[in-house]
Symmetry: C2
Subunit: 302 residues, 2 copies
Amino acid sequence: MTNKGVFDLKGYLTDKKAIVDKALHTYFPQPEGPASDVIRAMRYSLFAGGKRLRPILCMGGSEAVGGSGTDVLPVACSLELIHTYSLIHDDLPVMDDDDLRRGKPTNHKVFGEAVAMLAGDGLLTEAFHLITAEELSDHIPPRAILKVVRMIARAAGYGGMVGGQVVDIQWEGKTADFPVVEYIHTHKTGAMITASVTSGAMLAGGDKSQLQAITSYGEKIGLAFQIADDILDIVGDSEAMGKTAGADEQKGKMTYPSVLGLEKSKKMQSELVNSAVDSLKEFDRGAEPLRQIAQYVIERKK
Amino acid sequence: MTNKGVFDLKGYLTDKKAIVDKALHTYFPQPEGPASDVIRAMRYSLFAGGKRLRPILCMGGSEAVGGSGTDVLPVACSLELIHTYSLIHDDLPVMDDDDLRRGKPTNHKVFGEAVAMLAGDGLLTEAFHLITAEELSDHIPPRAILKVVRMIARAAGYGGMVGGQVVDIQWEGKTADFPVVEYIHTHKTGAMITASVTSGAMLAGGDKSQLQAITSYGEKIGLAFQIADDILDIVGDSEAMGKTAGADEQKGKMTYPSVLGLEKSKKMQSELVNSAVDSLKEFDRGAEPLRQIAQYVIERKK
């Protein structure tokens, strides 16, 4: 906040990203020992310049219900590990076969496919090691942590992200209707974004109606985020994004613009953002970061 | 046990395998919905006729410290999910490139590489969903469950199984010395076997000295198990194993026989088994299954 009480989103995102980056460096070992290559590969993608949106949403969820944000730091970081693993596996030749990610060669281009796949496996596994850190169970009831582990595992698994990825791959190059693209987006991206913000609020002790509101917020910005990604792929700047614009169309990916058209997709993302902000109307200024992030999600350039 | 009090290992393994198989069918959904292919792929490998050794060790760990065995069933099953994921990823062309597993075509041969990789990801993720089932936290302290999640994640991750896999791949076709092959075996196989038996004992309330003894037992049979695998690959029968004998040598894998020779390897596995059984000398007959399993580990034909 500035001294005028106007919320400074840019400063908030910068501060929170720095906190997450520092924590990830603490949690993550330096590459040493016989398996140092896989540690190097994990670190390569983990520190490749991600926005840390999921950790920030987790901390924002905590703040919205009166938590400190940093009280949920290990879980916030674990979400970034899961996100990073999903990008590494998604980029592999058997999946999207991408050479660039955030302007850098993808993991398998640097470390080879076998080590890249294992680095993804290692990150996903390490996420659950981190969530269960004693640092967390010192001040948060173990039963609440178990619930959060369960929720995150569901959101990341076949009923969430993995389910979305498999449908995404299987419909490539085919003509699908709206329910299919909605399934892909809500599962591949939406489920983990929703779990991110909800986990923060759950761990910080949000009550039932607060958690419902936060979950509704998460579902809406999760979908808006993916529609924004689809739109960026059409109108965005390759350099700013660090990946090739137009890649979705080239691969025959199911996207909102391909099914609904560009204008209707833009209208839909705006409506989702308004509706997400509206979900938070009962919250005080502790939810201001989440309100502002909703807008940021569709205005970002990368 | 028979009425003469002689422990019937074969009956014990059959009974326990049936319990695990039944539970896995209950926990695991039927393939339906848009992502049904990945569920089908997960089920294909999960129900491909595994021995269920890790779940049985977990239940045996519980029984050794006075638990019922079935009290830890969700965790026991989650260990099989992790094991199955590791086999699917290991069999992929970028890793070991195997066509047969347990006498059936490997996962990617049936479902394609993308779905197979995602099926592995889905199984690993679902394991952590299952460990945190309320069915477990109803009767086991949540803090103990968190500790077990943490231990299993460590054993499965870059400091355990994933670390072992990456070194295994990287040393293929090269000449290594004893420390490398020891690292591969203790990490790739040993870590999860140790975590299996220890998790059961931890959840069932084993005390510190019991857990130390059980962990020592696990480390020894874990290594003995992998040496036995190496030996089976040389002297075993392809049909009984459901995979091609001699594959390790063909691929230039680091094995105990390749580094120490066959006779020395056989001697070593026997010594490990004796030492494992010796670790359990303070336990009563509740540990009889574990004692017998130690011997079974090196006498099995597949």
